[in-house]
């Protein structure tokens, strides 16, 4: 097999991202002032916008590296949303990073782009080794980004940041070998590293052990319930704009990697993995939502709510067919937009004071009505109330799961959504009912406001008119489920 220029053409999007990465790298090296370093942030944002635009200009389809990488409707769909997530997070975080890590802004943006590159490559990977490497490329930068803020003179905060970052790092580096060992066992039983060959695996206990190890390794990265301990601590201590990224794109990446192996690779062997995934799903749904009830810190509350959401994702994966994947994708988009928006609002409200307890939100409606309004909408979307996009996402996942015969799981999920409504509305109650401690409105930087606005438009727009998103999700899911494709096509949408 030789690498041809055709292979590189298939890799257009990742290559464009790499080009942007080099630009940012050069900009970082070339500048030395704080203002210059902030420029790398803007360069990252506008560069990502350009790459996003380019996805509409020349969508490519085809296979590269002898079928190890494929570009099709699915990769196009996911790439776009990852780029959107990256761009919004960069935009919303520019101010915070300039303030708190002024000398490391270049590295921060660079690492964000590296992480995005890993994600964009992962979604097209059809080979277990490539999949794992892409996953590592997407997750290793995050360890550093979590520790990017170093405070002078605030020893306690510094320790807190270090604690969260170290926990994240340790969990990350310990879970990778576990997943790797699982993958090695799976590959040994299959005799090949390609996803398409997974179907032909000999059913042996070693394969099951491998799957179990893989699930637990990925479980750590995802933060599903028995493996979730690092999530609240890291979220609490890391900068909120980064958490907006951490809580969305990497989780989706891990879920996509799982889906690639389980749903698309082992699609005819679902009896191998459904019991384990069901257990994880129920545990995550129940415990995540109940633990969120007692939280007094917004970030910790959102961390546990995020854990709960992973449960809904897994419910969609359990369906295991084209519809399930389509609903999964719809949920991905809804979750990306909503969660990023929520954490950006948290940054706007709590970023300056560094105090993220729920009481800080008291009387927000009287201080900054627009901020309170958008926070309310994001919370409603997280809870799944009509007519924001979160409602449709939950509804579609429930329908797909019901049809696949998981009625009891749907009932559990719906009941827990009501539990979740309680703690989401608790923040809303504090915002609208309580008396504010400080009267003056909150000063929000335009970049941060723009980031919130993009997410807000997204959730309201897709909430009012979900059909285009649904259709593109369906097309992407169909492309995803083809493991041995003869013809690869891209539908422009």
């Amino acid at each position: 097999m030789t690498i041809t220029i055709e292979d590189l053409r298939v890799l257009t999007l990742p290559l464009e991202l790499s080009a942007l990465l080099f630009l940012v790298l050069i900009a970082d090296i070339a500048t030395s002032s704080v203002r210059g370093k902030t420029f790398t942030g803007w360069l990252t944002f506008w560069g990502l916008c350009v790459v996003f635009g380019l996805t509409f200009v020349s969508p490519v389809a085809g296979e590269a590296f002898g079928g190890r990488f494929r570009a099709d409707t699915w990769t196009l769909f996911m790439t776009r949303w990852f780029i959107v997530a990256g761009a919004v997070v960069t935009l919303g975080g520019i101010d915070r990073i300039r303030r708190m890590a002024s000398r490391r802004q270049g590295e921060y943006n660079l690492l964000l782009l590296f992480s995005l590159l890993g994600m964009v490559l992962l979604i097209g990977a059809l080979d277990l080794i490539l999949l794992l490497l892409c996953f590592e490329l997407s997750s290793i930068p995050l360890f550093v980004m979590a520790a990017i803020e170093k405070r002078k003179g605030q020893e306690f905060k510094l320790m807190l940041t270090a604690e969260g970052a170290i926990k994240f790092f340790l969990v990350g580096v310990v879970s990778t070998p576990i997943a790797l060992l699982g993958l090695a066992l799976i590959m040994g039983m299959v005799g090949d590293s390609s996803i398409a060959a997974l179907d032909g695996a000999t059913t042996s206990p070693l394969l099951k052990v491998g799957l179990l190890l893989l699930l637990s390794g990925m479980g750590f990265k995802l933060g599903v319930v028995p493996f979730h301990m690092w999530v609240p601590d890291t979220y609490q201590s890391a900068p909120a704009p980064f958490v907006a990224f951490l809580s969305t794109a990497p989780k989706v990446t891990a879920l996509v990697a799982l889906a690639r192996i389980l749903v698309s690779g082992l699609q005819n062997r679902s009896e191998l993995w459904t019991p384990a995934v069901t257990t994880l799903c129920v545990g995550t749904l129940v415990m995540g939502n109940f633990w969120a009830l007692g939280q007094r810190s917004t970030k910790r509350l959102l961390a546990y709510s995020g854990i709960g959401h992973i449960g809904y994702f897994m419910m969609a994966l359990l369906v295991g067919d084209n519809t399930g994947m389509a609903m999964f994708l719809f949920y991905v988009v809804a979750y990306l937009l909503t969660n990023i928006g929520t954490f950006l609002v948290v940054e706007a409200v709590c970023g300056r004071s560094e105090d993220e307890s729920i009481d800080v939100f008291a009387g927000l409606s009287r201080r900054s009505p627009w901020l309170a309004m958008s926070m309310l909408l994001f919370l409603l979307s997280l809870a799944g109330i009509p007519f924001v996009v979160g409602f449709w996402a939950k509804l579609y996942v429930f329908i797909a799961a019901w049809r696949a015969g998981y009625s009891w799981l749907v009932v559990t999920g719906a009941l827990l959504a009501i539990v979740a409504l309680y703690y989401y509305l608790q923040i809303a109650r504090v915002m609208y009912m309580n008396e504010p401690k400080v009267k003056d409105p909150i000063a929000v930087k335009p970049s941060l406001a723009a980031g919130v606005l993009i997410c807000l438009l997204g959730i309201v727009g897709y909430g009012a008119y979900p059909r285009p998103l649904l259709e593109s999700a369906r097309a992407a899911a169909d492309a995803f489920m083809q493991t041995r494709s003869a013809t690869v096509s891209v539908s422009l949408r």
Binding site: M1, F65, G66, R104, F114, E136, I140, A147, V209
Partner: protein, 207 residues
């Protein structure tokens, strides 16, 4: 029992003993040496599998660089800098955990032996002549495994950038004027160790 299987069991025992020492040793330096033993044992197993190239690279990279870096960090911190693990878990939990892990390991090993004995009846494909040679590994790396290979370089760059970003303290190095450049600076550009040597010795200075 052929010489080959004696060799295999020697390597296997070295691996497991090394791994145990790594985990159990109270002294971190001994732990690092246990790791070394494991790595050399694994390299020995690669040799048995005709993967000579891999064995050599394993020794160069892991024994020659990774363990050495561990050791270096331990020495910089001082071996006593590490807190001795204090047992704050109840013995019941420890024993239960130990039994659980042992059960999983034994079960896996048992099944592995089952699969192995089933598969040795001609199930494993025979290897080609140049399997594991430098040439075949190189061909694989630059054709079929090119994408992962190149990606791993990106991974290394990320690690380097990340390590620097985390470790950098933001101290500014004092600028040197052309006048006080020593020949060492001109040739090697590095910091000169005895920084106070330039200070003139006065009557007050005690030696």
């Amino acid at each position: 029992m052929t010489i080959g299987s004696v060799y295999f069991f020697l390597c296997a025992i070295a691996c497991i003993a090394g791994a145990l020492v790594t985990v159990v040793a109270r002294n971190p330096i001994r732990g690092a040496l246990g790791l070394l033993l494991t790595i050399v044992g694994i390299a020995g197993m690669y040799l048995k599998l005709h993967a000579q190239f891999l064995a050599a690279v394993q020794v160069i990279v892991y024994a020659g660089a990774v363990v050495i870096l561990f050791v270096f960090v331990l020495m910089l911190l001082g071996a006593d800098a590490m807190e001795r693990p204090t047992g704050n878990r109840s013995p019941v939990a420890r024993i239960a955990g130990g039994i659980g892990i042992a059960a999983i390991v034994l079960f896996t090993a048992y099944r592995a032996i089952q699969v192995y004995s089933r598969a040795t009846n001609g199930h494993f494909p025979s290897l080609s002549e140049d399997f594991g040679s430098v040439k075949s590994v190189g061909k694989q790396l630059y054709s079929e495994a090119l994408a992962p290979f190149e990606l791993s370089t990106a991974l290394l760059i990320v690690s380097v950038i990340g390590a620097i970003a985390v470790a950098r303290t933001g101290h500014k190095r004092t600028a040197l004027s052309p006048n006080n450049l020593t020949s060492a600076h001109r040739f090697f550009g590095g910091p000169v160790e005895p920084r106070d040597a330039a200070q003139p010795i006065t009557k007050d200075s005690t030696l």
